[in-house]
Symmetry: D2
Subunit: 241 residues, 4 copies
């Protein structure tokens, strides 16, 4: 079995400042996701936070990570630019990246996309329906064609992202919006999956189908190997000029 080294990064602020959030994720969103993933024999988990030394992603941790999950919301600006640079470089070198929910506005995602990644939003706890539009994609393995989330934050179009390489999920919201809620891109040698569900006040990361999608995405994003970031190379000719 090929083992996957997975690191779940969370800013871990809502959980400490709000008892409502804490009641849903007592150990933090990162621990909820990590506990689920760690129950699979092919995954080795670390869960780290913005408050950890080196903001949780020192050289050693990052260099041991095959797939990184990122959750942030209120503290995007506190992430060091130098760390952002290192995370993005490692993605370009092959590390998989799963960007969750409000991390659409993280420095890491915006830098890799090159766009604002802005969107519409509304926090009313409305019902959403996550539809797959690519049912044979590996991320959809064992996932029903529709997942109902009874209480969700609305994320709506226009979502200012580059056209995804693959569109996997589109969400319907009770209030009238749609959203490209599961999208993949490749940047350099790294695979990126943005996945919209996952608000801090709803138990979305306790939903088996949502966790299954994240599990699938980790396996899909796993690199064969991680080398160096490519640089320009002066090349002698192969044929006579």
């Amino acid at each position: 079995m090929t083992m996957i080294n997975v690191t779940v990064w969370n800013e871990f602020r809502h959980e400490r400042h709000s008892s409502a959030v804490r009641s849903v994720y007592p150990e933090g969103i990162h621990q909820a996701i990590a506990a689920y993933l760690a129950s699979h024999p092919d995954m080795l988990l670390k869960a780290v936070t913005l408050s950890d030394p080196e903001q949780g992603l020192g050289e050693k941790v990052l260099n041991d990570t095959d797939v990184l999950l990122w959750w942030g919301h209120t503290a995007h600006d506190e992430v060091d630019d130098e760390l952002v640079e290192r995370v993005c470089s490692r993605v370009l070198a092959g590390m998989g990246l799963i960007v969750l929910h409000s991390a659409h506005f993280s420095k890491v995602f915006r830098k890799l996309m090159g766009t604002t990644c802005s969107l519409r939003w509304r926090e009313e706890g409305e019902r959403s329906r996550l539809w797959t539009v690519n049912p044979s994609h590996p991320i959809c393995r064992g996932v029903p064609e529709q997942i109902v989330i009874e209480n969700d934050e609305m994320y709506g179009e226009f979502f200012d992202i580059p056209a995804p390489d693959e569109l996997v999920f589109v969400s319907w919201y009770q209030g009238g919006e749609v959203f490209r809620s599961g999208c993949t891109w490749q940047r350099g040698k790294g695979r990126i999956f943005y996945f919209a569900p996952g608000h801090e006040t709803y138990p979305i990361y306790h939903t088996p189908e949502i966790l299954k999608i994240i599990e699938n995405a980790v396996r899909w994003a796993r690199p064969e190997s991680i080398g160096d970031v490519p640089d320009c190379i002066k090349q002698p000719p192969f044929e006579k000029i």
Copy 2:
């Protein structure tokens, strides 16, 4: 007739420091391209350089630009980060951007792509052949299916870019390489075209077919309008929740 405000930006260093380059582009690459484009009644041209006040792209100039062409090579690092930010924002708001030759490594292009944009290269003056792989694309209008460039710098794969939205040209090099030499992307509301031909020591920007492609690309990249960069919007529901 809809007029297009076109600005050609050039770092303008090779032309001043090398008599060989100056003999090919006495007024600079920017003036050669601008003179050609200005001969078309639907285009209003400005030609600016890194040495101009505000590095050639003050607020007024940039805000009057519908399509920006960018040529740089030795002075990428001298371009102010603040200017890079403003140029990228204007692209996201709708401005077209034509990235020429060695500007694959410009700060502006790398920021919009999110990748290293590295490649292989060789400067031996070899023959190249530019093939269209998308003959009905507007950028190919009136352009032959193959353009031979007798003396060219080689740019070869692997070119570390996001998968293009559209692949328009692929180049063949005498020494044995291939290159995705004409690629389009959309970022935000702006259209981007990367076009590989155009070394400073060869008269490539005096070649009618190459100039025709650049002319077509300007018309293709022209925005209908340029508004504001999108930001997140809180949205009341349209339907009862």
Copy 3:
């Protein structure tokens, strides 16, 4: 001004067999759309039907068509295979094709896509919302970011199409579904736009915003020129072997 020769093809059955449909489209869907388009000085219109000689698309009509619109529902199987072949060949040679609503299941569209083009559907007259996910696309020119259709047939995912080259619209339905309702593809040299709105019993083709999208799509799909369908070519070498 470049004139566009537009032909609207309609099977024209519902309108003759159902007074309910006739009350919405007394002259037929084709005439409603053609009348709107003909009000634009750059468009020359023909409206033809399955019951016309040569099923409305004899050699002369087809060879004079730059952009073809296709509406069918109950009589897909009656369209001659030979006509399907000729229409597809002309698309590959450059003719634009706008495929409307239930024509997702037409022989022409299925042949060009290579997939079943099946979908979910429900005819309950529910409300739908057409959202643009690509606001700077030429097909969205002058079109609001959301169009509400008070009474619509539901078309839902999974829609079995090749991944669109460009996704332009996504629809929301009151009953809980989403749908990729505006999609583009290129096949050969021809541009294809599938557009979902347009049921026969609702006045959708009398809605200004819907007609505006169709008008934009016609201009977007117009070919520069229409030549021959490409065939294999034996090519002598350009370089010494």
Copy 4:
């Protein structure tokens, strides 16, 4: 280990009619490829030909196939339309399909693409160079960035295919052409890989790197499961209308 049922289909004409071809592939191209693949413990191989009962692909064989490889050249027209229909349906239901070399002009590939699939060609035994433009794609696993084929048939642009979902390889030819020689598409639930190398008179299918690519492509194209071809479904509403 998940086993993959692989069937290699070959028209098997050149090998019987030409001693030159027979000296390269004494048992036929299908047996050469099948022997290589069968040496991998996760693959179960069948090798069939046009001359076999039911043209090699009766219901039982096809229904036991996870991934089908297709090689044809002189006898495309002899393949029954009914068989073409069954093969395409099984691809839409999930079967992987590897289309080799001159099978670009097979009925199966053309039907799935919807285009002519025409190209330029020349049979002079010239050198080609297969470059990867997507080095982290699973099909490139363990494959060098460049493969030199000393004697190859030239296939050149314009290749009349739908824009590939992923472009994996681009070939350089000594005579001056380029070609999109490794392309992927999804159609329905099935994955398709077109791979250009493989002429009958050159020992290309004895080249380890070429065989490695085919082996990788088989694993990449393997479906999780194969169900029914999707059909239209009438769907009751999930939400109150």
